[in-house]
């Protein structure tokens, strides 16, 4: 497909997924982190007093904490005083697409990303995003008819202060961990979603549709509340390798599912992984957690992680309500010098709670890929059930795969099952595919997609197609 065809296809068939950007003229905070940085951020956002206090408290906590070192990661020293914590929307922009690294453009083309979107992703100044107004308006109307609130968290602080005040930090408290504390102190923006009682959100909600999503990358904060008997599916991220001038990313996502509510949260993460020698690349330290607060509620995490130089991420579920369900489906791909330490935490507190973990790690190049998962069955969690399956596939002899399952069972009625496999991509499988006429590249794609099938099945259709393509691009030329 030529690029033009791709553009036409996107516009005619794909519905819409451009960002909606406006350049807001704002200055930067001074480099470094201290109390006045936080006051500056809060002031810029016109925040109420309580939120400023909340941030300052987080900052106090963070100051007393230390960088975690327990992960199977080699994390370079991060100088927190050399970072700007309020990146204004005025990023350095390229004047034309010719200035962008041709390697990146090649990848965009392989992924079939239209030219206009390529410009936006690469950080080329785009004056006008076509069609955006009308699509966005219809979208907003549909949601408000259903009573769904979907806005930036800054907006929510102003418009729905009671909801924000009640739930912000309720699942991931400020002191949860080093990066969560940092995020709580300096978070820039993110999404806020509230689904009212009994409402099934009429469409999949995606960051693509959020104004200024571009600027919220570094310290993103997301809060999703699903009230009784409601349902929402949220898609985060983008398959395109997104460049960002900020190397450190520390996002926090909190999900709250009330009685019989269901939240499905899908992520495709493809931040810039650095070059072949491991230079550059994003450090991605994310805290994602959901609480099944109500009985019979359900939270399901699905993630496809292919980007970032370092990934540190354990989306988890607190299964507090009786008969609640937590799920975690993950594909993590590392190539070249990438490092990933990712997995989940399933904390069973209520009775008859169930959780399911399916993790597929694929390591290529010289990369390191770790699954780390905790299953805790509390003393009151009668008849809890967990099933974990962790499979690793190695593409070369130089990469590593590690599995660290932690089980903590305090109730004898629990049933916990764990299965794990590690295999090198089979020479016999490759030969079988070759013998049927498939090239090495085609064979790898087929085998890897088969390996990840259970996880891809959990992704919304369109996302699944993109994720497959993304895997193919990420693993190009990786067999050895």
């Amino acid at each position: 497909m030529t690029r033009d065809e791709a553009i036409i296809k996107k516009h005619t068939e794909d519905g819409y997924k451009y960002g909606f950007t406006t350049d807001i003229d704002q200055e930067r905070a001074e480099i470094g982190l201290n109390e006045s940085t936080i006051r500056f951020i809060s002031d810029k956002k016109n925040e109420p007093e309580w939120l400023l206090d909340w941030r300052l408290k987080a900052y106090d906590i963070w100051k007393k904490m230390e960088n975690p070192d327990w992960a199977h990661l080699n994390i370079p020293v991060i100088d927190y005083q050399s970072i700007s914590y309020y990146a204004s929307s005025k990023k350095k922009k390229y004047k034309s697409i010719d200035e962008v690294d041709p390697e990146i453009l090649k990848t965009y083309e392989k992924l079939g990303i239209p030219l206009e979107e390529q410009k936006m992703l690469a950080g080329v100044a785009v004056d006008y995003v076509m069609d955006s107004d009308s699509v966005f308006t219809t979208f907003k109307e549909k949601l408000s008819e259903a009573g769904v609130i979907f806005c930036s968290i800054s907006e929510a602080v102003k418009e729905y202060p009671d909801l924000v005040k009640k739930y912000l930090g309720s699942v991931v408290p400020q002191r949860d961990n080093y990066f969560a504390a940092l995020n709580s102190a300096v978070f820039s923006d993110g999404s806020f979603i509230y689904i009212p009682k009994g409402v099934r959100c009429p469409m999949e909600l995606s960051t693509y549709f959020r104004i200024n999503a571009e600027n919220t990358g570094q310290f993103e904060r997301t809060l999703i509340i699903a009230d009784d008997k409601s349902y929402v599916s949220y898609l985060e991220g983008c398959t395109a390798p997104k460049r960002d001038e900020n190397q450190l990313h520390a996002a926090v996502v909190e999900l709250v599912a009330l009685e019989e509510a269901e939240i499905k949260y899908s992520t495709v993460q493809n931040w810039y992984p650095g070059d072949k020698d491991g230079k550059g690349g994003i450090y991605n330290f994310v805290t994602k957690r959901g609480i099944c607060e109500g009985n019979r509620s359900k939270i399901s995490w699905t993630q496809v992680e292919t980007g970032s130089a370092i990934t540190w991420k354990y989306p988890g579920c607190i299964l507090k309500g009786n008969n609640s369900i937590g799920e975690f489906y993950s594909v993590a791909v590392t190539n070249n010098k990438q490092q990933a330490d990712t997995g989940t935490k399933m904390l069973h507190l209520g009775s008859n709670t169930r959780s399911r973990i399916v993790s597929k790690g694929i390591s290529a190049g010289n990369s390191s890929n770790t699954y780390r998962g905790q299953v805790l069955i509390g003393p009151n969690a009668e008849n809890a059930y967990n099933f974990s399956q962790c499979d690793s596939m190695l593409m070369t002899d130089r990469c590593g795969a590690h599995t660290y399952p932690y089980l903590d069972i305090k109730n004898n009625s629990a049933q916990v099952e764990h299965e794990a496999t590690t295999s090198k991509i089979g020479e016999d499988m490759m030969f079988y595919c070759n013998q049927r006429g498939l090239s090495d590249e085609e064979a790898v794609n087929l085998i890897v997609n088969g390996f990840c099938k259970e996880v891809f099945n959990e992704l919304p259709m369109e996302f699944a197609v993109e994720a497959k393509k993304l895997l193919e691009v990420s693993l190009e030329g990786s067999v050895g």
Partner: protein, 249 residues
Amino acid sequence: MLEIKNLHANVVSKPILKGLNLNIAPGEVHAIMGPNGTGKSTLASTLAGRNGYEVTKGDIVFEGEDLLDMEPDERARAGVFLAFQYPVEIPGVTTINFMKSAINARRKAEGEAAIKASEFMAEMKKNLELVEINQEFMKRSVNVGFSGGEKKRNEIFQMAMLNPKLCILDETDSGLDIDALRVVSEGVNAMRSKERSFLIITHYQRLLDYIQPDFVHVMYNGKIVKSGDKSLAKKLEDKGYDWIKEANA
């Protein structure tokens, strides 16, 4: 179609094939028999280009092209099909997807468009009937949870789908019950044509009750030591392999 001249091949630096010669013309069916460990399956793997099978001497010409110059997938696309002795399982990949990918890989190499769904389905249906397999099994992962007989039928099914010029059957009959043996043989017989050739590697004569070969070769110690018509197979059945071993000791 296929000319093998003085073929020597090593497996893990150990010489297995030691000067093998064989010519196969279009439309011919050749059977290779012989005791265990004489290099029959090594010949099959070497022809298909499997990693670790190192040709140290000799030539293989397929349809006028130097086969040894080609990668395994190029050989396959050029028309060499190997029915595996131990078909490989590919979890998560449906048989239907596997076959579509294989057919489209060929088409892509030829510069053709991908196969139309209707055309594929028609071919699939026809060939499933040939090997007496239920359509449901196309939705299952390739060979995963298949019985031994189903795996071998699946090999013949794939062979029929891919329309090869040279079909190599590597001990396809081993471990088959009589029904599966009949089905597999009928599949092969249905595929016989003036253009298509077969190289059938077997340890037992019984497969040749169903598939009538034009030539029978006996392999021993990395070489073909005796060739004849199908009566040779009968003789082997009656007398065993000892007389071959003695003659070539």
